[in-house]
């Protein structure tokens, strides 16, 4: 069973006006438990609209959003509960930190959930540990932290709500390679530990190749390709035609193949390409 599902979803901005724009056209998508799915596509392809629909920030113009097979808009007054179950981390979430201390900032959402102080404290320490920050940041002012640390605090704020589905808009943008690895690594860990579903927007094909299970490719409000990472990257011409990119390593492997060397295997990660090359020369290299 799918954890969260978009069923025949269309979304119009400015419906009924002369400026009506169809941002999503009859989209169907199923996200399984315990998986990381990446949304890719150009600016304006409908990715952010889709994230907002998943979290119940927007209401589909047509079709349904199903969470555990229940329409999230069945009882519109209870949409707030859905937002606790489907956590949303927006782009550059560090700009949304506002409290005096890291601890208060992370706690903010939980007070709204009606949890008591002991529960909140427990969740905060778990979340902070999860995103790889040490407990002594809790009493610091979030504005004294580095960019990478602030990003983690913002993500911790959502993780501490223990969402079943976590939706993130470019969680690693603007971070250095180590910080990218740490943040994406902690998301994989969250999925493993909680059998959660993560859906994230990313522009880095390399990150996707390493951390995601599935990829959904959007163009002009429609899904033009979807499947496992290896399926989507095996149809890489489609990505290039859509003006997107493929991991650098896949471009190299394809170029080597074009030079007459028949590499076989999963050529979209460095490890995969490395194995393919060793296989090609028969493994006896030393």
């Amino acid at each position: 069973m799918a954890k969260i599902k978009l069923q025949d979803v269309s979304f119009f901005y400015g419906k009924g006006t002369a400026y009506c724009k169809e941002a999503l056209k009859n989209v169907n998508i199923e996200i399984k438990e315990g998986s990381i799915t990446s949304l890719i596509g150009h600016t304006g392809s409908g990715k952010s609209t889709m994230l907002q629909l998943l979290n119940g920030l927007s209401n589909p113009s047509e079709g349904k959003v199903l969470l555990d097979d229940v329409d999230i808009w069945e009882k519109p007054k209870e949409i707030g509960k859905v937002r606790f179950r489907v956590g949303l981390v927006m782009q550059y979430p560090e700009y949304q930190l506002f409290e005096e201390t890291v601890e208060k900032d992370i706690a903010y959402g939980h007070k709204n959930m009606g949890l008591n102080d002991t529960e909140i404290a427990e969740r905060i320490s778990e979340a902070i540990d999860f995103v790889g920050l040490s407990p002594d940041v809790l009493q610091k002012n979030p504005f004294d932290l580095s960019g990478g640390q602030k990003r983690r605090v913002a993500i911790a704020g959502v993780i501490a709500m223990r969402p079943e589905v976590l939706v993130l808009d470019e969680p690693a943008a603007g971070l250095d390679p180590r910080a990218r690895r740490e943040i994406l690594g902690s998301l994989s860990q969250y999925v493993k530990n909680n059998n959660a579903s993560v859906i994230l927007v990313s522009h880095s094909m390399e990150d996707m190749a390493y951390y995601c299970d599935n990829i959904v490719v959007m163009k002009g409000g429609e899904i033009i390709s979807e499947g496992s990472v290896s399926e989507v990257f095996s149809r890489h011409n489609l990505l290039i035609d859509a003006g997107l990119d493929v991991p650098q390593i896949l471009r190299i492997a394809e170029r080597i193949r074009a030079l007459g060397i028949d590499l076989k295997g999963e050529l979209y990660t460095t490890d995969g390409a490395f194995k393919a090359i060793l296989d090609y020369i028969g493994g006896n290299v030393k």
């Binding site: 596509g41 150009h42 600016t43 304006g44 002012n141 004294d144 580095s146 960019g147 990478g148 943008a173 603007g174 971070l175 250095d176 390679p177 180590r178 910080a179 522009h203 094909m205 390399e206 003006g243 997107l244 990119d245 991991p247 650098q248 390593i249 471009r251 190299i252 492997a253 170029r255 080597i256 030079l259 007459g260 060397i261 460095t270 390409a273 490395f274 090359i277 060793l278 090609y280 020369i281 028969g282 290299v285 030393k286």
Partner: protein, 292 residues
């Protein structure tokens, strides 16, 4: 000083004050020589001091100690007047990360004209500069568009045109591709390289993308406020462990070649760009098969 250096930095230090009154060093005794027409990438983890360095070059920040010379003129001289700073900012332009924070007008060509207008340039000359700048960044057909309707990459190109219209000698890009989609990134990288190649503009490009840095002529790696490495991309990427230890990495192509070399496969030539890497690996594999 060396006559062909455009920017010369000597023993530069800057720190900021902490809440408890103590001071934290951001740049520690940095010295660096940047030549006219150079295409330099600056790498470093978040908080390593890259953006601070960029802001010093444009006098957005002032150093605690040390000197910065631009074309032999000491810009850290306390005698610098406001006019001098103005003059400097005209020469050394800066493009930031977020395109939405850099555009001021509601029409593209007005935005590009904003800089030269403030310099008090003749209207006919402004017209000429705006047209030329938009043509260089490939945005002439959008001259009358609203910036809000453009994509991130297009907005960044407008921001670049706005600087170009002030006729700079040097442009600093502070993670200017970080918020863009792949097409936008490619656009900006091509524009940066065109400015360097065809217009002789000195480029200082701060980035977190190793594959972007690999395209420069020279890379400087900052680590906790100090220069850890300085060399050509081939030299810098020679040592993946050193880069990884300071929170960075090597481009995927370099990583692959290093792993293959460890297996005893002889790969010759520079491998820090995808095409060169593919050809070098293919050549090595053919040679190996020829022997078998």
């Amino acid at each position: 000083m060396n006559s062909d250096s455009y920017i010369k930095i000597e023993n530069l230090c800057i720190s900021y004050e902490e809440d408890d009154g103590g001071r934290t060093s951001v740049l520690k005794n940095i010295s660096l020589d940047i030549k006219k027409g150079e295409y330099l990438a600056v790498l470093g983890h978040n908080g390593s001091g890259k953006s601070t360095l960029a802001k010093l070059l444009n006098m957005i920040l002032e150093p605690d100690s040390g000197k910065i010379y631009i074309e032999g003129k000491d810009i850290t001289d306390p005698q610098m007047t406001e006019d001098d700073v103005f003059e400097l900012r005209k020469k050394v332009g800066m493009v930031f990360q977020n395109p939405d924070n850099q555009l001021v007008a509601t029409i593209v060509e007005d935005d590009v004209a904003f800089g030269p207008e403030n310099l008090g340039i003749e209207p006919t000359e402004i017209r000429r500069r705006v047209d030329e700048a938009l043509s260089v960044v490939g945005m002439s057909e959008h001259a009358k568009s609203e910036p809000a309707r453009l994509s991130g990459g297009q907005k960044q190109r407008i921001a670049i045109a706005g600087i170009l219209a002030m006729k700079p000698d040097c442009m600093i890009f502070d993670e200017s591709t970080a918020m863009l989609d792949p097409l936008g990134r490619r656009d900006i990288m091509n524009t940066i390289e065109k400015l360097n190649r065809e217009h002789g503009i000195t480029i200082i490009m701060i980035t977190h993308y190793m594959d972007e840095a690999a395209r420069a002529n020279r890379i400087v790696v900052l680590d906790d406020g100090e220069i850890l490495m300085d060399g050509t991309p081939a030299e810098i990427f020679e040592n993946p462990e050193k880069l990884q230890n300071c929170g960075l990495d090597v481009p995927q192509c370099v990583g692959l070649v290093h792993s293959l070399k460890k297996q005893g496969i002889k790969i010759e030539g520079e491998c820090h760009t995808p095409t060169a890497c593919a050809e070098a690996i293919a050549a090595a594999l053919e040679k190996k098969n020829g022997k078998n």
